[in-house]
Symmetry: C2
Subunit: 150 residues, 2 copies
């Protein structure tokens, strides 16, 4: 992982649709060397995968919400059980157990209020061990990236 690898990672995190020849030129390497480096980054698992990022609005998912959850019983197995349940929801795009007052934080991508209503009904029913939850609606997205500084 030298300077060239870092540069490649930065470039690929921004736009992975570039051709190998382009990348090679930018980092100042021959296409073959460049390709071999990228392949190695895949093989060693530094690059997890290549994905298409959709425009949420154009894909019909306009609402975003963040829910912080406090459980009744806080044991490890209870938190795990709650997360397992949350993960199954397609609208849940991020689910974390966290330190501090709250036990879990969920990030949702929703079509409309009805979808949120149905989801909260499933996740926060009586039997689900949830003591309290706070729903915050995203008003403005200042930044949203998958990019990790390297």
């Amino acid at each position: 992982m030298d300077k060239i690898d870092s540069k490649l990672l930065r470039l690929l995190q921004q736009d992975a649709s570039r051709t190998n020849a382009e990348l090679a030129e930018v980092v100042g390497l021959s296409p073959s060397s460049c390709l071999r480096r990228i392949r190695r980054l895949h093989e060693t698992g530094v690059i997890d995968r290549i994905v298409a990022v959709l425009n949420p609005t154009k894909a019909g998912r306009t609402m975003k919400a963040i829910i912080t959850v406090e459980l009744e019983r806080h044991g490890e197995q209870y938190i795990r059980r709650f997360l397992d349940m949350a993960e199954k929801e397609p609208a849940v795009i991020q689910a974390y157990s966290v330190s501090g007052e709250t036990d879990a934080i969920l990030m949702l991508r929703l079509k409309d209020m009805d979808e949120l209503d149905a989801l909260t009904e499933r996740l926060f029913r009586e039997e689900t061990n949830v003591a309290r939850y706070y729903t915050a609606f995203v008003i403005r997205t200042g930044k949203e990236t998958t990019e990790i500084p390297v």
Copy 2:
């Protein structure tokens, strides 16, 4: 946006490194038709971009934290100002203004505690109009996807 387009979007959100020929076969189309559909999805902006997703651990960013922020003065311009400042931080990968008690929520990807220390120093100094903030460390990631249901 018919059934085939949706299927393509699902496939591309999971793995955009597949060849056009593979995709074409999965959705039951000729390579040329398939390619034209994908290009159209790009042109219409449904597909925003193609990116490489890194393994955070292998890229040297092991810590994740979520900070909820309450501002002193809540006006639109103050929130905007705070978000603008937060966005500039490379460790901040998501920054939202939200409804409810808290004004903003930040998602951080960190190397170590020192980085967090330095960042909080910059964002939550006296002059930054922040009344209170709560830092929750991510203990376990149940789910983390860029995939939007289509």
